[in-house]
């Protein structure tokens, strides 16, 4: 009985989310806010990716920024080559401006050899290549990292520390490899995404829809993924990996699969973020950013995909709003710190858990007044 209500409630939340996200341009007549919301929707995707690996697989990835950053850089390379200034650097083929900067005197003005490693950019002259790599590269890296970690049965906090060290390493390399990455300044001054001759201005309603539809699709796909048998088996490996092994499942392959899916989503999110914000920087590899994603997911509800996504969107929207009042600017981080400690202490299942408990209370109350026995409030159908 109560189970049905939870499933219905769950569906209602998804439906409401999708309807609101898709109808938003009709309500918000301000392209600036649309662009802002598009960015937060991308963060919502990141929260969702964390929930997928952390909530459902028990894998806390403190280096998710690695995959986000890789995705961002891949598309940014393509868009950089499309920018007007890249065509202006004294060659008939596009050359990113910073490469001239880093070029050795006398180096030919060509992507092949202007700086050491600049040849890596050659295929990115095709935009579709950058778009594809934005997902492929994070996925390949995640496959390699994931299979190493999980085949060796590294688990729990050690996964967190390895991923943390990895993202630090990536940050170091991206800053140091200036001839290829433009170092600390990152890739800026990008062209706009162009599909079928249409340029997608980040502040255009159409661009908003690219993001909005992507987020909805990823959300639904992830939801489908966790409700498949594979999703169920994954959750079993989180609870008791040994039991799963004795049932005949190769636990590592499930962990690698979902770790990789989560990384792929993060890479995709990185790509979308570049499309709406027009730049990629090594700060995507900052530890603070990766931990922020975990914070969003924890506040929203680590074991609810939509909860984690809403957590990310909510926190960022509030943050943007309070930053407009001088007094709050300083206090905001303090508040976020306090809220976060409280959530971990008293609301480990986050806002989604809270909503569920409230619904359970309501159900129990209505059943009691209806003269029936109140049932167990828990359900695992997420």
């Amino acid at each position: 009985m109560s189970n049905r209500i939870f499933i219905l409630g769950d569906r209602a939340v998804y439906a409401a989310f999708i309807i609101i996200v898709l109808a938003l341009p009709l309500l918000v007549d301000d392209v600036f806010w649309l662009n802002r919301i598009a960015k937060y929707l991308v963060f919502g995707m990141l929260g969702l990716a964390i929930a997928l690996s952390w909530g459902y697989a028990g894998i806390l990835n403190l280096g998710q920024g690695l995959f986000f950053g890789l995705g961002a850089y891949m598309i940014a390379m393509s868009l950089k080559l499309q920018s007007y200034t890249s065509l202006q650097q004294g060659s008939d083929k596009p050359i990113p401006d910073f490469m001239l900067w880093n070029a050795e005197p006398g180096a030919p003005t060509d992507l092949c050899c202007i700086t050491p490693g600049s040849w890596l950019w050659i295929p990115f002259q095709a935009q579709w290549f950058g778009m594809a790599m934005a997902v492929v590269v994070p996925v390949v890296f995640a496959l390699i990292i994931g299979s190493t970690i999980f085949r060796l049965r590294v688990s729990g906090v050690y996964v967190a520390i390895i991923t943390l060290a990895l993202v630090l390493l990536a940050r170091l390399l991206f800053i140091d490899l200036q001839p290829v990455t433009n170092g600390f300044n990152g890739l800026t001054d990008l062209g706009w995404l162009t599909i079928a001759g249409i340029e997608f201005d980040p502040f255009m309603v159409a661009t908003y829809y690219i993001i909005a539809v992507s987020v909805c699709v990823v959300l639904l796909l992830s939801r489908w993924l966790i409700s498949t048998r594979a999703g169920l088996i994954l959750q079993s490996t989180r609870d008791d990996p040994n039991r799963s092994r004795y049932l005949g499942y190769d636990v590592a392959s499930y962990q690698v699969f979902f770790f990789t899916v989560s990384a792929g989503i993060a890479g995709f999110a990185g790509m979308l973020f570049v499309i709406v914000s027009e730049f990629a920087t090594p700060t995507y590899f900052d530890i603070a950013f990766s931990i922020s994603m975990v914070v969003w997911a924890a506040v929203g509800g680590r074991s609810s995909l939509i909860g984690a996504a809403l957590g990310a969107i909510l926190i960022n929207t509030i943050e943007a709003s309070v930053s407009e009042s001088e007094m709050f600017q300083q206090a905001w981080r303090l508040i976020i710190g306090i809220v976060f400690v409280l959530v971990v202490l008293y609301m480990p299942r986050g806002l989604a858990g809270l909503a569920r408990d409230v619904l359970a209370r309501v159900v129990a109350l209505s059943q009691r007044t209806g003269g029936k026995d109140s049932q167990s409030s828990h359900t695992a159908a997420e």
Binding site: I233, S236, D239, D240, Y246, L247, G248, V251, H378, A380
Partner: protein, 248 residues
């Protein structure tokens, strides 16, 4: 009769200490075998060796003629060995029904499992197991919220759902009330014939209720093997048990 599990000269060496030493026994298909032995006799280690939790340093384990020695746990499980632990091991954050669904593991690969729902045959088998274990009333309860006995039955039910040909049970009645013990015995007896079952157990009343053939281990070695009555009369067995008060 066909042999389900053949153990040949199995041994494991923990840095000089042989917890299991040249152990040899054959368990027939459909047989219910009870393993007895005083504490430290190597019973649980034997199960660890069969199920792949611990790597053997010598000897072989064959399952229906196939060598499964030192394979990874999940491969041994896929080959048809199911195991129940002493401390109940179920997925505590999943509901009872979900636990049973996970146990339908004839298709272990990730990509083959990217589908919703399950086949009618699997559904039917789960229903049968629910009947057998009497968990029908608590299907939506989280496994972690079950009583101790229910948890044990659920684990047992998962092994049956898993369609293991050989089921290893490590003290299935530990910590159970008498009523629960007797229900467990009923479940095990109903499995006899269709499954090969290997039970480690201390509760002699329970053993007498279910046992046909008994293997006694002592200091990692095989001490005696045979029908319950013969074993109980065996003086060597009595000697081995003297330290722990004899068979009771």
């Amino acid at each position: 009769m066909k042999a389900a599990l053949t153990i040949e000269g199995l041994e494991v060496d923990f840095g000089g200490f042989k917890a299991v030493d040249s152990m040899t026994t054959v368990i027939d298909d459909g047989e219910l075998r009870v393993i007895l032995g005083p504490n430290g006799a190597g019973k649980t280690t034997l199960m660890d060796l069969i199920s792949g939790k611990t790597a053997a340093t010598g000897g072989k384990v064959h399952l229906f003629g196939r060598d499964i020695t030192n394979r990874p746990e999940h491969e041994i499980a896929r080959a048809g060995v199911g195991r129940k632990f002493q401390i109940p091991s179920v997925f505590r954050d999943l509901s009872v029904l979900q636990n049973l669904e996970v146990a339908v593991s004839h298709e272990p690969r990730v990509f083959r499992n990217l589908r919703l729902g399950m086949s009618r045959a699997d559904r039917k088998r789960i229903d049968e197991v629910i009947d057998l274990t009497g968990l029908g009333a608590v299907l939506d309860t989280l496994a972690g919220d079950l009583s101790h006995g229910q948890m044990q039955w659920l684990e047992l039910g998962m092994l049956i759902t898993q369609q293991s040909k050989v089921i290893l049970l490590d003290e299935p009645t530990a910590g159970m009330t008498q009523g629960e013990t007797s229900k467990t015995a009923d479940i095990i007896l109903r499995l006899k014939g269709t499954h090969t079952i290997l039970v480690v157990e201390h509760d002699m009343a329970f053993v007498r209720k279910i046992a046909e053939k008994v293997t006694v281990m002592h200091l990692g070695k095989l001490l005696a093997e045979g029908p319950m009555q013969t074993i109980e009369a065996d003086p060597a067995v009595r000697d081995a048990y003297l330290g722990s008060g004899g068979l009771h």
